[in-house]
Symmetry: C2
Subunit: 297 residues, 2 copies
Amino acid sequence: MKKALSFDIGGTKINYGIIDENGNVINNIKKINTPNTKNDIYNALKDIVNKYENDVDIITIATAGAVNNENTKILSSTGNLPPGYNEIDFQSLASNKRVIIENDANCAVWAEYKLGSGKNCGDNIVLLTLGTGVGGGIIVNKRLLKGKSGSAGEMHFAIKDKKRPCTCGFYDCYEAYASGNGLKNTAKEIYNNNTITTYDVINDVKKNDERAILAINEWQHDVSLGIIGLVNIFDPNCVILSGSMAAFIDYTKLNDFVNKNIIVQKTEIKKGYFDNNAGIIGAALFGFDKLKGGCRV
Amino acid sequence: MKKALSFDIGGTKINYGIIDENGNVINNIKKINTPNTKNDIYNALKDIVNKYENDVDIITIATAGAVNNENTKILSSTGNLPPGYNEIDFQSLASNKRVIIENDANCAVWAEYKLGSGKNCGDNIVLLTLGTGVGGGIIVNKRLLKGKSGSAGEMHFAIKDKKRPCTCGFYDCYEAYASGNGLKNTAKEIYNNNTITTYDVINDVKKNDERAILAINEWQHDVSLGIIGLVNIFDPNCVILSGSMAAFIDYTKLNDFVNKNIIVQKTEIKKGYFDNNAGIIGAALFGFDKLKGGCRV
C-alpha cells in the first residue's frame, strides 16, 4: 500500500504525518509553528522531507492559497503567510519523489468525498470551511472544480448590501458574514460593543445570553444564504461543513431552511468527518489519485 | 454532414429549424405560438417532427425548465408553460431518431462555447441569459454543469437584504435584481411610480432621463455583483451575457468593475454571438456531440 508524507500548511501551524491509501495516519500527526519567513518555511519543510522521503511514495501538501492546475505551485500571496511564500519551489523539496500541492479546502473536500461525510453521497459535493474566514472546495462530476487558473471555489460573493468590508477588498461577501470573524462583527453590532470576540459569543450562547443567541442565529441565517445560492448553482448531492465554526451549526434547522428555499432537488447538509485532519488526509488521497492519473481531466 | 431538427420551446413561441454540424441554419428558423395545453404542444411538435424526421439525423430541443442528466425529460413544471408540460414524453415524438432535450440556457452556453463568443476562449465558461428572468448555463472543464439531478445553474442566490420577493418563492435573489423585471422593480422605486415598465426605462435612457439612468446604472451594478460572485466561484475563462437585456450593458464599464473586485485571475465578459438563436443552435450542437458520446462524462 502506498504512503504519503503529507503536510497542511496554515498561517499558525504546519501539521504533517504519514498517510496511507486508506486514509490512515501512520503514527501521529506532528505539529510545528509556521516559521516567519519563506526561507525558514522552506528549510523546515526540507528537514522533514529529508527525514521521511525514503519511507514514502509521494510528498503531498495542503496549503492556504490558490494552487495552479498542475498542482506544482501557489498562484498568489496569501494573507496569513509570509511574503514570498507563493514563490517557494515546492518541487525541489524532494530529491526523487513527486511533490503535489493543492489548496487546503480542495484537499478537505477530496478527503470527505473519498472517505468521509461525502463518501457514497454522490459525485457533486460542495464543502465550506467555516473558520476565521470561509474557504470552498467543490467537486463537480467526480473532479475538483479548479477553473481556468486553479483558483475556483473562492467564497466571495455579495449576500447583503450593508457595506461590511471583506478581507478581499470588496464588501458584503459571504466570508464577511459566514466566517468566525463574520459572527464577531455581527455580534459587535448586536452587543453594541466593539471588543466582543467570536469566543465571547460562543461562551455567552452557553449561558443563554439573548444577544449571543441573536448573533449566532443571524450568523446561521447568513451561512444558510450562501448555501442556498450554492445549492441552486451546483445542485450538489450534499454540502459538507468543515472548520472550527462548523461545530456551532444547528444542522436540523439548517437542513430544513435550505431545503425549503432551494429550487433544485433536495440536498443534505452535514458536518465534515475529518475535522482538523481533512487537509492533511485529503492532500494524501488526492496525491495517490493523481499518481493514478485521476482527480480531473 | 449531420443535421438536426431543432426546437426552442419558450412560454410564448416555439422556434424550430434544421441545423447542421457547423451551426448553420438550413433554410430559415420558423416560429409558432406556444399552444396553451400540454397536449396541443405535443401535437404541434409531433406534426413538425413527422414532416422533417426523415431529413435529419436527430431531433433536439432547447426548453425552459430543468432537464434530467439523461437529456430525456423535464424535471419539474416551469412557470411559463402549461401544467403537465414536464410530463410530455418527448422520446415518442420521433419514430426512428433520437430525441435529445436540454435546458435553454445550457443550450445557449453550448452554442457560444462551440461556435460563438466563447469559441477559443477556454473550457470554463459562465453564460447568463438576461431576459424577463435570469438563466444560467455553465461549462466546467469542457462539460455542462448539471449537478446531481440536472438542474444546476439556477441563478437564485441572495445578493441583497431588501426582502424583494423572487419568482422562486425566496427573496433578494440575483434574478430579482439582474433580470428585466429586476430593472423594472428598481425603476419603480426610483421613479416612485408603480406603473413603470422595463420598456419605459430603456426608452427614457435614450432621452437622458436622470431617473432612468440611475435605474439602469443600479441594474448594471446588480448584474455585476452576481458576476463577481460567479467569477470567484468558477474562475471562468470568460462570462457571456445573452438574452434581450444583454444589449443594455456597458461592457467596458462592467469588465473594469468586475476585474477590479475579483480575487481570481482576470476574466472577460462579452455579449453572446447567437442572440435569439443560441438555444436552437446550441441544442443541435449538443445533440451532435451527444451522439458522439461527448458533452459530459
